[in-house]
Structure formats: C-alpha cells, structure tokens
C-alpha cells in the first residue's frame, strides 16, 4: 500500500495542474482552424494561379475570415498571459528549442501572408477601401493579375498553414511531464482537426449567406467579410459538395489518429495509461465521448454522408457539430493533459 501526502499548495498547480483554462483551448482551436483555412485557401490559390476563376472558389475569401479569427485567437492567448505587460518579450528572442517561440514567430509570418492574401478579395469585400486607398487597389490588381505571385502566395499559405497546424499539437506534445501529450500523433491530429474545422467554418459561413450584394460601407464592409465572405453569390453546389467531401476525409483521418494516439499511449508507461484513463473513464470522459467523438465526429460523418448522397437536405448542423467537436477536442486535451502527470515508478 502506498500513501502519499504533499504540503504543496500553489494556485493553478495543486491539486492538479490547471494553468490553462479556456483561453489556450480557444487559441489552439482558432489557430488550428486558421491553419486549415490557410491550407484550403492556399490550395485554391494554386488553382487560381492556373487561370481558373477566382470568384468561383470558395476559399479565396478565407484569408479575411482567417484574419479575424486569428485576432480572436491571439486575443485569447494574450488574455491567458499572466505577465501581459511583457508580452513584447516574445519577439525579443528566438528560442530554437521552444515550440512556443516557433509558434510566435510563425504567427508573425502568418499575419502578413493572410493580409496579403486578403487583397485578392479586396474588390469584392471592401471596394470602398480600394477606392480610398488606391495603393491597396493597385496591389490587389497586380496580385490578381500575376499567376506567379498568386502561386507564391498559395505556397506560403499551404506551408505556413501546415506549420501552424502542427505547431498547435507540437506545443503540447513536447512536454514530457504531461503523459497524455507525449505523442507525435498530436501534431497531425490537431492539423486534421484544424482542417475539418476550417472546412466546417467556411461551410457554415457560406451557408449563412443569402444572395445579397455585399454592402460597401466601412462597417457594412467589415460585416460583409464576416457574413458574406463569398461575395454576392451563395455557394455553388459543387463548392458545398467539395467542402463536405473534404470534411468527410478530414474527420475520418482524425478518428484514425485518435485511435493511434490511444494505442501509442496505452502501450507506454503506467503514467501514460493513467493519462488515457482520464479521457476514457475519468473526469473528462463525458465530454470526450459525448462531444468529441460522437457529436463532433461520428454524427457529422453520418449526416454529411447522407447529405452527399442527397438522402437528406443540406443543413449547417454537421458544420456546427464539427466546430463544437473541434473545440472540445482542444479543451479536453488541454485539461486532461494538464491533469495527467508522471507517477513515480513503484519502489525505488
């Protein structure tokens, strides 16, 4: 029999580590989703560069949406910082071994890329901005006119998107101290979860858009970026189908990756097995099984399958569920991961 007592009583550390509450899951979720959007957008830019019509592509507008989500995510990250005044310190150093440092710098690169990418949509979403700032209009025109630049931009989007998506997982998985995170699968898992969330988000926003022309005022333009990212037309059927197909793939891969994560952990040390227990039968089990697996993956998989086969009408329900599941996955992994800890091997 083993009885352990400890007098340690530090806030956020005892009785279990809980340094990160909702902010970091939000940040990771948005980060993953943005990564997914960048990849989707980047791939479509590459197609655009081949000369296909830009307006026809559902995800060219995502940079603007991405830009907004990015700010929200970064806002959440900032809220989580305990020493906010010193936030600039992140960019006074580059720490090659620190995923967080990498992440911070990647985010710094992501910003301009997203902003430049947004220029592609400038004439549709914010024509007044182009009128007022002719430079932007000129840049936008030059960009859209140059397949080479669009290709470059597309490449950057895909590359940075992958980096960002994986980073959100790597950030956690490098922490040996937290057994639940000790898996190389976490990077790809968060990447695919980000992709599925991105597809769902675009789908959701696109579906919410009725066929109105985008408003052209300052505020209206800004809102248009949010609710009319596709411009003045609702998504073409093939766009919606494309999104659904992509999402089906992403979700399936996600499910496989979760399985692999578990298999990996369960075949590891006692600490890792205990960590998995937190998810499958412990405090986090309800959310994990209920929201992440069933509502967030299995149900949307089924619904979208049926939608594709036109056996049920298109709704936004699968997209909403996928988004909820994607956030819940981050929340569960961050929460249970912190609660997981290394247990001393029996006897010394």
């Amino acid at each position: 029999m083993l009885e352990i007592t400890s007098t340690r009583h530090n806030p956020l550390v005892d009785p279990v580590l809980s340094v990160w509450s909702w902010e970091i899951p939000v940040y990771l979720f948005f980060g993953g989703m943005i990564a997914g959007m960048m990849i989707l957008a980047g791939l479509n830019m590459l197609r655009l560069a081949k000369g296909e019509r830009a307006e026809g592509f559902y995800s060219v507008q995502t940079p603007i949406l991405g830009f907004i989500l990015m700010n929200l995510g970064m806002g959440a990250l900032f809220l989580d910082l305990a020493h906010k005044l010193f936030v600039y310190r992140v960019y006074m150093a580059f720490e090659p071994l620190s995923p967080m440092s990498w992440g911070s710098w990647v985010l710094l690169l992501v910003y301009p890329v997203i902003l430049v990418s947004a220029l592609i949509r400038l004439p549709q979403a914010w024509p007044w901005l182009g009128e007022r700032l002719p430079v932007l209009q000129r840049l936008s025109d030059a960009l859209v006119a140059s397949p080479g630049k669009i290709r470059l931009l597309g490449g950057l989007n895909v590359g940075l998107g992958i980096a960002l998506g994986i980073y959100t997982g790597i950030l956690l998985s490098t922490m040996v101290a937290r057994p639940l995170w000790n898996s190389a699968i976490l990077g790809p898992l968060f990447l695919f979860s980000g992709l599925s969330a991105a597809a769902a988000m675009v789908h959701l926003v696109a579906s919410l858009v009725p066929g109105h022309p985008a408003p052209r005022s300052f505020l209206g333009g800004a809102l248009a970026m949010l609710v009319q990212p596709l411009g003045d037309r609702p998504p073409e059927p093939r766009t919606a189908d494309g999104l659904i197909k992509a999402d089906l793939g992403f979700l399936a891969i996600e499910l496989v990756l979760i399985g692999l994560l578990f298999i990996g952990l369960l075949s590891s040390s006692a600490s890792h097995v205990a960590a998995v227990d937190l998810l499958v039968s412990g405090k986090y089990a309800t959310v994990f099984w209920g929201v992440v697996i069933v509502a967030g993956i299995l149900v949307p998989l089924a619904l979208q399958w049926l939608e594709l086969g036109h056996r049920i009408p298109h709704t936004v329900i699968p997209a909403v569920l996928v988004l909820a599941g994607g956030f819940a996955l981050r929340w569960v992994m961050v929460g249970a991961g912190q609660a997981s800890h290394m247990v001393a091997a029996a006897g010394f």
């Binding site: 029999m1 083993l2 009885e3 352990i4 007592t5 400890s6 007098t7 340690r8 009583h9 530090n10 806030p11 956020l12 550390v13 005892d14 580590l17 340094v19 990160w20 989580d80 910082l81 305990a82 020493h83 906010k84 005044l85 010193f86 936030v87 310190r89 992140v90 006074m92 150093a93 720490e95 071994l97 620190s98 995923p99 967080m100 440092s101 992440g103 911070s104 950030l171 490098t174 922490m175 040996v176 101290a177 937290r178 040390s269 912190q338 800890h341 290394m342 001393a344 091997a345 010394f348």
Partner: protein, 179 residues
Amino acid sequence: MPRFGMVIDTLKCVGCMDCVVACQTENDVPQGYCRDWIVTETRGAFPNLTLEIRSERCNHCDNPPCVTCCPTGASHVEDFGRTVQVTANQCIGCKACLAACPYGARFVHPDGYADKCTFCLHRVKEGKDPACVSVCPTHCMAFGDLDDPKSEVSRLLASRKYHTLLPEAGTKPRVFYLT
C-alpha cells in the same frame, strides 16, 4: 564554474517544514504559495511500514524542460552554479514552463511571472547556504558543488545510497535523496 546541487538525507528529515517556512520569509514568497514543500510516502500495511519524508523543490535539472520550452528565454540556465533561474521582467507568464516541469516546482507569482526555488543564489553568492539548508534543525540538507569531488554533496553521494525524483523524465535532477 560550480554545478550546484542539494543532497537531502531522508533518514534524518522529520518533515517539520522549517525549510518551507524559512524559504517563505527569506524570499518573501507570497502567502498561499511555496517554493519548497514536504512529501511523505508511506509504504506497507500496519504494522509493517516504512515512511520516506522528502523536502522537495525545483531540482535545477541538468536537462531542464522548463528552460527549453520557454519562448522568451526568461527561464534560463544561470552561469553561476548552472542553476535554473527565471528573469521576471523577461517572462510573459505563458505558463509553458509550469506545464513542462514534471515536478510541479513552479508557480505563477501574483505579480505575474513564473517563480520557483532559486537555490537562494543571493545567499550562496555571499558564501552562505540556501535558507532552507541553513535552518534545518536536523541538518539533513547539504548544498554545494557536485563537480567538486571534495564537496560535502559529492562525498555524501559517493558514500550513501540515493535516488532522484522521476528519473524516467530524463531531466537529470540535481536534488538527491539519501536513503
């Protein structure tokens, strides 16, 4: 440069927590927080029992994950004694280091930065032992240079059985427990 470490004799330690109180006052550790603490492990069944009592703190690991994960360099290995330290006005309070430490040795100071045991470098620079070591009524703690074979810590490690905490974490802790 020395490589500081601590050797604690669990046979002598009585778990009185004097080391904890001394750290509080010496280092103005805010109320409700602690840089060191006492763990007890009772094994066996009545009446065949063993008890190990340990005064725990940051292990000033040779391979410190709290340093590698830090995005700002606030967590760093100080030249002096190769100890692990935090520079408060470089720390953004991201708490990655708290999550990365397998020992729960760190906390967020109410002023916002990550804090933990410093090995009382300010005392060591004056030629004194760390506060916890200097008050311990059972004299069960020793502090010194692990690279100097003549130091008390080295001699204790050479002559006694010991263990470190969670060696499987690969952190190479520098607080040793004599058994």
